[in-house]
């Protein structure tokens, strides 16, 4: 089925993914702004007592400023990630930082995962960044869809682990859950979409989750030991190494 999906279909799916990311992140930003707005309201409520010199009120104003800053930082992280995401659509197939791709994909997937009361954990090796050659936008889309696939097919597990491991000629991204995967119709359809997306990204699906609950993508390598880029995305990270979630 994967081979029969047309280029137009891939484009449509990419557009849908872009829209869903945008919509989800708009809600996340709105949540942060709503909190900031209420904090401003609380600031106004407390201000008259602070002006009268009540020490407790003055102290509370200080803590409110810190809490507002937290929400502003939350919005900045979203804007920064969205901006990088939007630019990733410019790049058809380029050497890119696979860790950034994974972290960005999981940053966006986190909202849906949270709404389904599950958890995401990223396990990426520390040290030099692995450069791979692929379409970063489509790979993000495939990783995001991979988390949805596991949520669709697993009944009990509340944790999905995404890990990155080096391979002889590139890198392997593994999405896994400790629980058995049931390939229902919706999951089968999603898996076909993912396979087509991964291929269009210039990568390869190495394992599908029907057997052991793991979805593996191979991304061809470019070169190793390039400049490291710090990432500040809020995805819980493991210590690196293996990808054993059983």
């Amino acid at each position: 089925m994967a081979e029969t999906l047309s280029e137009n279909h891939i484009r449509e799916q990419a557009f849908l993914y872009f829209s869903r990311v945008l919509s989800g992140q708009c809600h996340e930003m709105a949540n942060a702004l709503n909190i900031a707005r209420e904090l401003c309201g609380l600031h106004e409520d407390i201000l008259p007592r602070a002006r009268e010199g009540h020490a407790d009120a003055v102290e509370r104003l200080g803590s409110l400023a810190h809490r507002m800053q937290t929400q502003i930082d939350r919005c900045h992280a979203i804007v920064r990630t969205l901006s990088r995401f939007a630019h990733s659509a410019d790049e058809v197939r380029l050497p890119c930082d696979v860790r950034e791709i994974i972290e960005r994909a999981l940053f966006f997937a986190a909202r849906q995962v949270r709404l389904r009361q599950a958890e995401l954990q990223a396990i990426v090796p520390a040290g030099d960044v692995q450069l791979v050659e692929c379409n970063p936008f489509l790979l993000q889309q495939a990783i995001h869809a991979g988390t949805e696939l596991l949520l669709e097919g697993i009944e009990r597990s509340r944790r999905i682990t995404v890990c990155l491991t080096p391979d002889a000629d590139g890198e392997v991204v593994t999405l896994a859950s400790a629980d058995p995967f049931v390939c229902n119709d919706a999951a089968a359809e999603l898996l076909a979409e993912i396979t087509a997306t991964v291929q269009a990204a210039g990568c390869e699906v190495r394992e599908t989750p029907e057997c052991n609950g793991r979805l593996k993508f191979f991304i061809p390598g470019c070169r190793r030991g390039a400049t490291s880029t710090d990432s500040d995305l809020a995805i819980p990270k493991g210590t690196g190494g293996g990808c054993d979630v059983s």
Binding site: A30, N31, E38, L42, R67, Q71
Partner: protein, 138 residues
């Protein structure tokens, strides 16, 4: 006259805590719940004049919570306070029994007015229910 008693249900903990503090400072009795399920449980233990309910929440979402709240207490006044207010959401929530749909951000004065109106309606509906029950037992 006792204070309006309100239950706030929202998974954004910081939002709900700050809003609760602001409403308490205006004389309301406020309880908070961070999930639809928790909110439904609290509504079964305590009588509230109004419930202010978020729409998008993990697990039991706002619509499911609305159904469960009204199944337990049909005259309960549920105000949907959401950042995802679409016409479809509003129509669905109204059809299911929500008395108000407010879009975040909402001014605190407006929210206070809606809660107070809800309390008045709640009193009227509860009195109607008692009257009906009395007629049925005659």
């Amino acid at each position: 006259m006792s204070a309006d008693r309100v239950l706030l249900i929202d998974d954004e903990m910081e939002f709900v805590e700050v809003l609760a503090e602001r409403l308490r400072a205006r004389g309301l009795e406020v309880e908070v719940a961070y999930s639809g399920m928790d909110g439904v449980k609290k509504s079964q233990v305590t009588k509230f004049d109004a419930v202010v309910l978020d729409f998008a929440m993990p697990g039991m979402d706002g619509i499911d919570a609305l159904k469960a709240l009204l199944a337990g207490t049909p005259e309960l006044q549920v105000i949907l306070l959401t950042g995802q207010a679409t016409i479809k959401t509003a129509m669905n929530a109204t059809r299911l029994g929500a008395v108000e749909i407010l879009e975040k951000p909402t001014d605190i004065t407006t929210l206070m007015e809606k809660i107070h109106e809800a309390r008045t309606r709640h009193g009227v509906r509860a009195a109607e229910r008692v009257r009906r029950q009395m007629q049925e037992t005659r």
